[in-house]
């Protein structure tokens, strides 16, 4: 899962980015409105955490322009806590709204909910054969046994599961599993797929040659 954070306070941006990376997300950052909109427009993020008060272009403008071209889930993050601000945020097309100062676990939960909803999932528990994925606890059980997956491996499984039945291209996977700082030209993806197959069964991820991967 790849997330964009647009926030102009550097310490808040770095703290948030670190926290989300440690949660297993691929995180891109932008510290002003123009950069934020450019990134949101050019990459397919699973969610955007957007501050309202930004230099160059404020959160409302970014949201309004983004909504014309994309349905990326957006969580507005703002110091404005009045009801009319929340109403405005939601009406402009924000999917959720959080007021500073916020609690990190709550932010994580809301982001998970946003991503789940955008993938048309209603619960945190997904079962495929004897494999059970808990997107809230971020763990995977196979035949009742907890499987040890790295953050990247888990992210790969989660992304494929949330797009169950669809063929996910390698480009998509690169886009959603690696952030702007990763070297996407490595064969890291093949290594992760191979490791997941070892842990969850060779048939768990199906390779569609020339197209990509799929969980059926």
């Amino acid at each position: 899962m790849r997330i964009l954070i647009v926030e102009d306070e550097p310490d808040l941006l770095s703290g948030l980015a670190q926290a989300l990376r440690e949660e297993g997300y691929a995180v891109d950052t932008a510290n002003d409105g123009e950069d934020g909109f450019y990134k949101a427009e050019n990459y397919n993020y699973d969610a955007v955490v957007l501050d309202v008060m930004l230099p160059k272009m404020d959160g409302w403008q970014i949201l309004a322009r983004l909504r014309k071209i994309k349905k990326t889930p957006v969580l507005m993050l703002t110091a404005k806590d009045q009801s009319r601000d929340r109403v405005r945020g939601l009406d402009t097309g924000a999917d959720d709204y959080m007021v500073k100062p916020f609690d990190l676990p709550e932010l994580f939960a809301r982001l998970r909910a946003l991503i789940r909803r955008s993938a048309n999932q209603t619960t945190n528990l997904i079962e495929i054969g004897d494999v059970k994925i808990d997107t809230a606890a971020r763990n995977v059980h196979r035949a009742g046994k907890l499987m040890e997956l790295t953050a990247r491996e888990y992210a790969l499984v989660e992304f494929l599961v949330l797009h169950r039945g669809e063929v996910v291209t390698r480009t998509q996977l690169y886009e959603h599993l690696f952030d702007e700082n990763d070297d996407t030209f490595s064969n890291l993806l093949d290594v992760h797929v191979s490791n997941v197959r070892k842990k969850l069964g060779a048939e768990f991820i199906v390779t569609r040659r020339g197209h990509g991967y799929c969980i059926e």
Partner: protein
Amino acid sequence: MKIFKSIKWRLQVWYGLILVAVLAALGFTAYQLQRDLLMSRIDSELQRRFGVIADALHGHGPGRGRPPFDRPPSEQTPDYPPPRDQSPGDFLPPEERQPPEFHLPPQQYALFDPREAHQFYYYILDREGKEIGSSTNSGAPFVTITTKLPGEQNTAPDLSSGRVPPPYHFIGHILPSGETIWVGCSIAPEMAALNTTAIKLAIVSAIILFFGLAGGWWISSRAIRPVENISATAVKISAGDLSQRINSADTESELGQLAAVLNSTFARLEASFAQQKQFASDAAHELRTPVSVILTQAQTALNREREAGEYKQTVEACQRAALRMKKLISALLELARLDAGQEQMKRLRFDFSRTITDSIELVRPLADARGIKISTELSPLEIEGDSERLGQVVLNLLTNAIQYNHDGGEVKAVLKPENGIVILAVSDTGQGIPAEDLPRVFERFYRADKSRSSGNAGLGLAICQAIVAGHGGSIDVTSRENAGSTFTVRLPAPGRPA
């Protein structure tokens, strides 16, 4: 009782009392006039009959010898029996001027018709007080005289046992010849008429009183309504709804003017409350971001075990956020003190150009770092005030001029006297301030640059303005975009009233 504390009720009670008094006086007067009129009529009737009897007694009046009025006596006889003959025993032998025994001429019977409501009667005494004639008719109500007049002409005969319905009215006179004639009548019809008049007056008064009170109620309600409006609005306002205004259409009346005064007071109150609310909300808003930083950094750091270097970074980020809050809180406190007028400005003479030079030395490293040139044009001018606070203003303006300048730009400070005031102008060659932001730059928390990456809360210029205003001066700004801004401070020259 509550009802008597109400102005409306009190007005109504007073109004009612006055109305009742006026009506009572009018009614009483009307009653008296009517009574006087009736009595004078009766008096003139009695006078007429007196004349008739006096004439008849001495044979030269209209009675004797005069032809019957309109009916022959024969016709009158059955209706009007002649006066009762005096028994001879009652009769005294006449003296020299013995008055004749009296008989009412038949043509005058009509005047003493006992069937007539007034039942006129007469009573004649001779010089010795003996009765020589009376109208006491058989079959008619009569008066029995129980006490003879003892020759005192003014004393009325005792009529208490008479059958003429009381009350009575009569006149009595002594003729030159010595006889006393009493003529009287019942005034029961007049009394009845007066009673009717009194009842009519009472009914009319009651109707007038009713409409008067109703009208008074209407008028006092109308007069009181604006007060009730004002009171209702004031109640709502005291309940916390400051947006309420008194709805007053007329602005000419005293109450209308009061409503206008109150409305403008409410408006000022509301504006001041809104400003306070905005200020508090802005202050909270400014604190939210640093608190978010601390919370996010701390929660992230605590999520798992970390190396010393990472902890250090987290603590540093927290420190920066805390310092920002400290700065904000000091600025807020300072503004609050300036607002409350607690911060007493010193009033000392000092060389303002010296203060400016000192401030420039403080910011020079900042300017040098960005290749910004500071030029000055300072007349050595003394002003009266708080050198520390005014130095703060100068420092703030210089810092802004450097911060919002482009690298290698210029900052110019000019101090000069003009028309008895001291003018300090600080100009820069920076990005300028957009025209739409110009009127708002001195507002609290206002930043033309919406981001908070600069670390400024937007209180600096507001504090400058408060300090300058505390010295009786003013501060304003002119700006051209991409050409620079000029902040001008005007202070009163020393020795002049602020």
